[in-house]
């Protein structure tokens, strides 16, 4: 690997980008004393390339779930532009927005809350097909069975209710639902976080197989960095509403440029006692600040082990710039 000089980010052809987020902001006004707002997403630029899995990580309050909902248009942006397959989805409403839904789907975190308890599994899976009038009713029923088989479930159980299945099985149903409309892009919002370890492994393998089979693009949101490393091609790290670093998988884990990424990676215990005896994690001081009133300048400076405050870190917000490897960007005045 070349020396860590500021290499230019590799230029990506526009057609290769499936989704582009430009200066997205999402503020939630806080009731009571006016003017205050939770700055959940505070100026995010991101791109997701066709066929890749982009991992999005961060701790509570970083805004990754909110960003997911902006990308899937479940929430309107406060400002900014989100382009999917050439179309600006922030401008779409009603029926035209619904049409986009055929290409973009989501798998949710809680297998117990993401399936309507009053509907049978067959109805749940048929709903997307009914909504868009895909084929005849008979065709839709066959497709539902095909979807169940695809995720490893018995196709005869279409008249069962969600509560009759285990957590892992319900998650499979959620995945089947996401596939029903043959989307090209799927957002996995903590899709495996609520599952037991061995079931997690099953679902991770399933997601990988499906991606290969259907040439899917994934946005994989998680807090478990080990799982993210296993699944993703590129990874973006968020802190307090902003992206602080983006890089290819191995680059970010082996040569992180941003101090927050470094601290995050060093915090994770490894299932190897010999390694654990030797390791000394970087501990961050303090707590995650409130998203209502983020710190001035670089948001991370209050906890950063290398921050110069008072100084540039407290005064000027760093921009995402190329540091480290090709295709790696970080927002830090002293990156590397």
């Amino acid at each position: 690997m070349q020396a860590a000089e500021k290499a230019p980010a590799t230029a990506v052809k526009p057609e290769a980008v499936l989704l582009r987020v430009e200066s997205a902001f999402k503020y939630f006004p806080v009731s009571g004393l006016g003017g205050l707002a939770v700055r959940a997403v505070d100026g995010v630029d991101l791109e997701i390339r066709r066929g890749e899995t982009l991992g999005l990580v961060g701790e509570s309050g970083c805004g990754k779930s909110t960003l997911a909902r902006l990308i899937t248009a479940l929430l309107p942006v406060t400002a900014g532009k989100i382009t999917f397959d050439g179309q600006d989805i922030t401008k779409l409403r009603g029926r035209r927005l619904r049409r986009i839904r055929q290409k973009m789907q989501m798998i949710f975190q809680d297998p117990y809350a993401s399936l309507d308890p009053r509907m049978t599994v067959g109805d749940i899976l048929q709903e997307p097909l009914d909504n868009f009038g895909i084929g005849s009713v008979g065709h839709r029923r066959r497709r539902v069975q095909e979807l169940l088989r695809l995720v490893g479930l018995n196709p005869n159980f279409t008249n069962r209710y969600p509560h009759e299945f285990s957590g892992g099985q319900r998650q499979r149903i959620g995945i089947a639902r996401a596939l029903a409309l043959n989307p090209s892009f799927i957002v996995c919002d903590e899709a495996v976080s609520a599952l037991d370890v061995s079931i997690q492994a099953q679902i991770i393998n399933l997601l990988q197989d499906l991606q290969k089979e259907f040439q899917l693009t994934y946005l994989f949101i998680a807090h478990d960095l080990a799982v993210v490393r296993h699944l993703s091609d590129r990874i973006a790290v968020m802190y307090l509403g902003k992206v602080v670093e983006t890089a290819n998988r191995n680059d970010i884990y082996e040569r992180p440029q941003h101090p927050y990424t470094k601290a995050l990676l060093s915090s994770i215990p490894v299932p190897d006692p010999k390694v654990e005896r030797e390791r000394a994690p970087i501990t961050l001081k303090g707590e995650i600040p409130s998203p209502v009133n983020p710190p001035s300048g670089c948001r991370f400076h209050t906890r950063c082990p290398i921050a110069r405050a008072p100084g540039v870190c407290a005064e000027q917000e760093p921009a995402l710039e190329a540091h480290g490897a090709a295709d790696q960007v970080a927002a830090c005045h002293f990156a590397g």
Binding site: Q109, A113, N131, G152, Y161
Partner: protein
């Protein structure tokens, strides 16, 4: 190739025995002895009430079968009679058969109590659903209107409506509907607000479900539980209100034998013959209690904290 993925996957073919949602609730309901007893009483009462109105000659089926006397025929020579084969509960101040009057009264009370819930469901349900789903100024407007309605004492408002329409079966019916929808509206709105946030609603939106379908297929079925319970508890309230109004002379008028009317009739001679008041009183109390037990049972049976 696609099915090969499913096969290579750790395939989960087995799912434990099938249980429906409502049959689950029914099993839980059955385990509550008071609720079952209440339901039994209600069923019996409904049968008796229907029989008292069909065929349409006074006394209905039970009179035809000589089980009771005639509710409107006065026998002035036989007033305040003690129970006998002809008059199993005796006669009232005008010599009319008590039992048949009580059964006839049951038909009035049950009809008003149960059917008015539909009116309440329509008015309160729609207002609550629209307010909860759309939020914003629509929610504000509807809820402030609801608050205003709520601020009036209900009985007073019912009195006003009944006075306006003139006392009769229909005016009570409509008055009750126009006044008692408020609680349900609030409940439905609360339900909708909490269900709207659930992930399965987000998922339905993601798969292209239109707002109308969202309401009909997702919001309504999932809010049914507490709604059914509230409506069930509303029945005894409505029955009592009707009885009270009739007792006060502002509701059903004699000779229609609603329970309230019967109590009013017998009230004057309460010390001479307390039976006149006791029997219809017990009828009201028993009916209200039964519906309350059933309501309790339903609430426990429909509790969403079922198996996970």
């Amino acid at each position: 190739m696609a099915t090969a993925i499913g096969i290579v996957q750790q395939v989960d073919w087995d799912v434990p025995e099938q249980t429906g949602l409502w049959s689950d609730a029914w099993v839980r309901f059955r385990r509550n002895p008071l609720a079952v007893a209440g339901l039994a009483v209600i069923v019996v009462m409904i049968v008796l009430a229907i029989g008292a109105r069909l065929p349409t000659n006074p006394g209905g089926l039970w009179h035809v079968l000589h089980l009771t006397g005639d509710p409107v025929q006065q026998e002035v020579t036989n007033t305040y009679a003690l129970p006998s084969l002809q008059h199993p509960l005796g006669t009232d101040v005008l010599g009319r058969d008590q039992l048949s009057r009580i059964l006839y009264g049951a038909s009035i009370s049950l009809t008003i109590g149960i059917v008015v819930q539909f009116l309440i469901l329509i008015i309160g349900g729609v207002i609550g659903m629209v307010a909860g789903y759309f939020g914003g100024w629509i929610d504000n407007l509807l809820m402030r209107f609801t608050d205003i309605m709520y601020a009036f004492p209900d009985l007073l408002l019912v009195l006003v409506f009944v006075a306006a329409f003139g006392p009769s079966f229909w005016s009570i019916f409509i008055a009750l509907g126009l006044v008692y929808w408020v609680g349900l509206a609030r409940l439905v709105r609360g339900q909708v607000l909490s269900i709207k946030e659930k992930e399965y609603v987000e998922a339905a939106i993601m798969t292209g479900t239109s707002p109308f379908k969202l309401i009909v297929k997702h919001l309504v079925p999932n809010s049914l539980g507490p709604v059914i319970v509230t409506l069930t508890f509303g029945i005894p309230a409505a029955i009592f209100t009707e009885a009270a109004l009739s007792f006060l002379g502002i509701g059903i008028r004699p000779p229609e034998p609603s329970w309230g009317v019967m109590i009013e009739d017998g009230y004057a001679g309460i010390f001479a013959d307390p039976r006149q008041v006791i029997f219809p009183g017990i009828a009201v109390a028993l009916t209200m209690l039964s519906f309350t037990f059933v309501g309790d049972g339903l609430r426990d049976a429909l509790d969403p904290r079922m198996r996970r």
